[in-house]
Symmetry: C2
Subunit: 256 residues, 2 copies
């Protein structure tokens, strides 16, 4: 049994807690948060505390707190030389106080409060300072049914950046499509199968191979009509920039 | 039984053929293409022809040909007053020759040559000039297990434009993430669960509600670091533009 102390009560902490709860050889032995009320729904199934000095012994302390709090919380831990990991995609491993063995346990997924996640499909990116510590994270990955990836700081920060493109920016494109279609009284549901298929395609094809459409075909007539249709200058600028990006990727020479 | 003559041998034609083939009350009675060799794989299961004057009678003629060919092919049809539909998201219904009853049968999905599509999940957008013709398209939708939507020309062209955002542009964001992560020897597979989850989320939340990340939080430190990480000026410009777009959508006042 690998024992874990969980710190924090946000989305990531809650999803980690739920995943560990149903895993065979893992146990959350204590859950800390500075305000106890956030942990109230779980108080009958796990030991909870709001006193950092009361933290019990565990194989691993997961600091699933906000980026800005990592340094301070790690400093306030009342013990030395134990294994402590934060869960952030962007904070340096060196922000963790050096009195403990430092690591990063970064689940690369978008967690929402009320949306359950199949944790076994979440890739866990692991960074350690002492090589020997990788073993326990591999074991945790196996217990959770997750793939784990050993990465370095630069890779983690690059993944965090890449995630902004495939998650936040992609979602904003969905939002723009929602605005455009709403303006003409079109049900956004009509676009959902295409959204799913676009995501599904890159499971089997590279994004390069999956590309289609007027930009790649250099279909100037359609591009011109689309730009004319767009009433919002900002949407127009995004259309032009991403069209140019596709054309650059696919070697379309386009002298307009 | 509703009988269909299919014209064209591209991706859309092929996917429509396969969908009709397995549908109970629909039949492709003839498949036309100007070069017969493209239809060779199907010649033992359906009547094929490359002579437009040999077209047989059918309840519906589906012109799944390229946008530029629609007008000419519809003009060359050797009959009058039958129901003829093109499958384009952008071509006017009036590009079809007026000697026949004109319609549009626009399946809003991204079709690739070697990727099977669950046609029952493809929304079919229908445009007709004679209202009575909507009935046969509803019946075809039912037979295919598809949702059908009656739309007008402006709505169809808006859907086509929206599709560029959620499909081509989204795919280009995947491509950029692929480039960024490749440059640091990161396996693109690590990002795939996040891509799937981002698409899955808008099945249950609006894109507005689903948004997260540094732009929405106005996390200036992270945004600044991301911009510094980006080595490609074009990627930087896209990052800035989509960050500004998210912040405008979510009312983030950001004086830099």
């Amino acid at each position: 049994m690998i024992t874990v102390c969980l710190l924090g009560a946000g989305n990531i902490a809650t999803h980690i807690y739920k995943a560990i709860k149903v895993a065979d050889s893992l146990e959350v032995v204590q859950w800390y948060n500075r305000t106890l009320s956030s942990l109230a729904p779980y108080k009958n199934e796990v030991a909870t505390t709001d006193k950092i000095k009361d933290l019990v012994e565990a194989d691993l302390y997961i600091l699933a707190v906000s980026d800005d709090a990592i340094s301070e919380v790690s400093k306030s831990l009342p013990f030395n030389n134990r294994l402590v990991a934060h869960t952030s995609g962007s904070v340096s491993i060196h922000d963790l106080n050096q009195k403990n063995q430092r690591a990063v346990f970064y689940p690369l997924q978008s967690f929402s409060k009320n949306l359950d996640v199949d944790f076994s499909k979440v890739p866990i990116c692991i960074e350690v300072l002492e090589k020997a510590n990788i073993k326990i994270f591999k074991a945790i990955g196996t217990a959770l049914g997750c793939k784990t990836y050993k990465i370095n700081t630069e890779q983690r920060q690059t993944l965090h950046l890449s995630a902004v493109f495939v998650n936040n920016f992609t979602n904003q494109l969905y939002r723009i499509a929602h605005e455009i279609s709403d303006a003409k009284s079109i049900n956004f549901d009509i676009l959902k199968p295409l959204i799913q298929e676009t995501a599904r395609k890159v499971e089997v094809l590279s994004p390069y191979m999956a590309q289609t459409g007027p930009a790649k075909r250099n279909d100037k007539k359609t591009i011109k009509r689309h730009l004319k249709q767009l009433e919002n200058e900002e949407h127009k600028a995004i259309y032009e920039m991403l069209t140019a990006s596709i054309q650059k990727t696919h070697g379309v020479t386009n002298k307009r």
